[in-house]
C-alpha cells in the first residue's frame, strides 16, 4: 500500500469532483441545456481515479463514450468539458463532439468514441508509436465488459501480445452492456483467462476500491514503463448506479434488481474514501470542488454557441 500522506486527499478530491460534476449534469439535464446523450459514471468513479492517479501527464488514455470520469481523472479541463456538454464554442471539441467525445490532448485524454470497442486498437497503435520512438510513456485502454464481445478486442489484444507493447488494458466490468448482463454474453466469468491467452498477465480487482485499483495499476504501469515485457490486463468490477444513458435510475424496469445494486451502493467509492479523509481537509476539498463545478457551469452558460461557419471547418485539414 502506498503511503504518501497526500494520496488519500488527492484521490478523494478527484472522486468527489467527478461525482459532483455528474450530479450537476443530472440535475441540469431536464432543463435541456445539455442536448447530448450523457452516460454517467456515478458509482464507477473509483476505476477512472484509481487508473489515472499513477499515470504521468504524458501517459495517454483512450476511453469510451462513458467518458466524463476518465476525462476528469486524467486531468481534462472541467470548464471546457462543461461547455462541450452545452454545445458551446469554448467546449473541448468546439461543440462539435458533445458528451461522448471529450478530449484534452494536453493531458493525454484522447478523444472517446461512441462505437463500442473502437478505441482499443487506437491505444495499441499509439503504444506501438511510443515504443518506436523510444519514449517511456505508456498507454491505457479503458473499455466496458460489452467491448470484450467485439472482434476488435480480440484482434487488438492479440496484436499487443505479439508485439509486447506498453499498453495497459482496463476492463471496467459493470456487469451490463445497456440492459444485457455479461453472463448472457460470455459463457463464463473469465475475462482474465481470456486476456492471458494473448500472452499477458491479467488480474481482477473485485472491490470497486480506489486504493486497491490504484495499487495494482501503479505496479502494472511501473512494469510497463520499465521492463518492456509487454501488455497487462486488469479487470475492475464495478457498478453503475444510474441508467445506461441519461440522468435517472433504471431499477424499476426489472432487468436488474435494486438488491443487486445495494451492496455496491453501500460500498460507494466516494463515500467510503470520504471517511478516510481528515475532516478539515475534506471540508476544504469539497468547498473548492463546489466552486470549480459552479464556475464551470457559469462558464458554459455564458459561452457563445459556435459560429455557423464552423459547420464547414474541420472536415479536412486545410
Amino acid at each position: 500500500m502506498v503511503s504518501e500522506p497526500e494520496l488519500i486527499p488527492r484521490l478523494y478530491r478527484s472522486l468527489y469532483r467527478i461525482r459532483r460534476v455528474e450530479e450537476e449534469v443530472a440535475r441540469l439535464y431536464p432543463s435541456d441545456k445539455i442536448k447530448s446523450p450523457v452516460h454517467l459514471s456515478i458509482g464507477q468513479e473509483a476505476v477512472a481515479v484509481g487508473v489515472c492517479d499513477p499515470l504521468r501527464r504524458d501517459d495517454v488514455l483512450f476511453g469510451t463514450y462513458r467518458d466524463h470520469a476518465t476525462y476528469l481523472a486524467k486531468g481534462g479541463d472541467l470548464r471546457r468539458m462543461m461547455a462541450e456538454l452545452y454545445g458551446k464554442a469554448t467546449g473541448c471539441a468546439k461543440g462539435k463532439g458533445g458528451s461522448m467525445h471529450l478530449i484534452d490532448l494536453s493531458v493525454g485524454a484522447m478523444g472517446a468514441s461512441a462505437i463500442v470497442g473502437t478505441t482499443i486498437p487506437h491505444a495499441v497503435g499509439y503504444s506501438w508509436s511510443l515504443r518506436y520512438e523510444k519514449k517511456d510513456s505508456i498507454v491505457v485502454s479503458m473499455f466496458g465488459d460489452g467491448a470484450v464481445d467485439e472482434g476488435a478486442f480480440h484482434e487488438s489484444l492479440n496484436f499487443a501480445g505479439v508485439k509486447k507493447l506498453p499498453v495497459l488494458f482496463v476492463c471496467e466490468n459493470n456487469y451490463y452492456a445497456i440492459h444485457s448482463h455479461h453472463l448472457t454474453r460470455h459463457a463464463s466469468d473469465n475475462l482474465c483467462e481470456r486476456a492471458r491467452t494473448y500472452g499477458m498477465p491479467a488480474e481482477r480487482v473485485e472491490q470497486n476500491d480506489v486504493l486497491a485499483i490504484r495499487e495494482r495499476v501503479a505496479a502494472a504501469v511501473d512494469s510497463l514503463r520499465r521492463t518492456g515485457k509487454g501488455p497487462h490486463f486488469i479487470e475492475c468490477m464495478t457498478y453503475r448506479f444510474k441508467e445506461h444513458v441519461g440522468p435517472n435510475e433504471d431499477y424499476q424496469h426489472g432487468f436488474r434488481p435494486k438488491a443487486e445494486a445495494e451492496p455496491w451502493m453501500k460500498g460507494d467509492p466516494v463515500k467510503t474514501l470520504a471517511e478516510q479523509v481528515p475532516a478539515a481537509d475534506r471540508v476544504t476539498i469539497e468547498r473548492e470542488v463546489e466552486a470549480q463545478v459552479q464556475d464551470a457551469i457559469d462558464f458554459a452558460e455564458k459561452s457563445p454557441y459556435p459560429d455557423l461557419k464552423e459547420l464547414y471547418t474541420d472536415v479536412y485539414a486545410e
Binding site: 458533445g98 461512441a114 440492459h179
Partner: protein, 352 residues
Amino acid sequence: MSMPSEERSLTYSAAILEATDQEMKANSKVVVFGIGVDDFKGTYGTTMKLAEKYGADRCWDTPLSEDAMTGVAIGMAMAGLRPIHVHIRMDFVLLAMNQLINIAAKARYMYGGQVSCPVIIRAVIGRSWGQGAQHSQSLYPLFMHCPGLRVLAPATPYDAKGLLLQSLRQQDPVLFIEHRLLHGQKGPVPEAPYAAPFGKARVIAEGRDLTLVGVSYATVDCLRARALLKKEGIDAEVIDVASLKPLDTRTILDSAAKTGRLLVVDSGWTFCGAGAEILAQASERFQDGKPLKTGRLGFAPVNCPTTQNLERAFYPDAAKIAAASFELVRGERREWPVVETAAEVLNFKGPF
C-alpha cells in the same frame, strides 16, 4: 398522404411491430435478434414483448458482435430460417460490411444460384439530440452500390408494414432502413397482413411545377415544403422513393418529364448518393429537347456536429427544400424564414 384510405392509424414503429408479429405468428422460421430487442424498451417499441409472446428462441439479445452476428444471420438463412437482425443505429452496420457485401450480396451468384440469403437487416438512422457524427449517418448508398442487396427506406407506416412483410416473403438480403424520427409518425395501416411492392416509388402528392423526391424522413420535409410553396403559387409533386434498390426511376423521371424540374432530397450525404444516381439517370434519359432543371439536397458535406445550431444547419429541412425548389422554378433565390423546427425534432429526447 395518398395511402389506401383506412380508418385505422398506427405509428411507424407500431407498424413494424405489427408486421413482425404477424409474420412470426404465420411463419415459425422468422427469428428476431439484435442488441436489446428483448429488453423493456423493445427497440423503440418495434420488438416490444415479442420475446414474451414467442419465446426466448424467437426474439433474443446478442453479444456486441455485429460482424459475427451478421454471419450468424446468413448461416441461419442458408439453413432456411428468416432472420431479422436489428441495429439500433445504422452506424454499427459498418462493422458488418464484410458479411453483407462479401457474402450476403454474393452468395446466390457465386454459388451458381443455389444459395439464398434472405436476411433482413433493420437499421435505424439516428438524428437529433446531439448524438453526433457516429450516430447520425444513413449510409444507404454504400448498399445501393453493390449488386445483390435490396435496400428499402419506407417513409410511411403503411410502407413500413408492407415492405417488411414483403421482405419476409422474398428470397434476397434486405437492408431495411428506418429513420429514428419516423418511428413516432402516424399514418393509416390496415390490420390484415399485406405486402407492399419493392421497386415502386409512391407519388404521394400530385403537382405540375416541380418534382420533389424524398428519401426516408426527407419525404416528410418535402410534404412540408410543398405546403410552403403552395402559398407562392408553386405546385410541387412529391414522390416517396420508398425502395432504393430496386429504384423506380421510371416513376420519378416520368414525373420530372411532366414538371420539367427535379429536386431529390436525400436523408444523407449527396455525393454518390441516391440523388446522384437519380440525376445521372435523368441526364442519360433526357438527352434531347428542353433540359431538365435539377438539384439535390441532403446533409451538409461534413460530419454531423452535436451542438444544436450547427446540427440544424447540417440537415435539410422544409425551408431549405422550399428555397431550392423556388430557385428551380422561378430562377431566383428566395429564403424562407427558418421554419419552426418540426415537432418530431423538437420533442425528441431519446430513448437514445
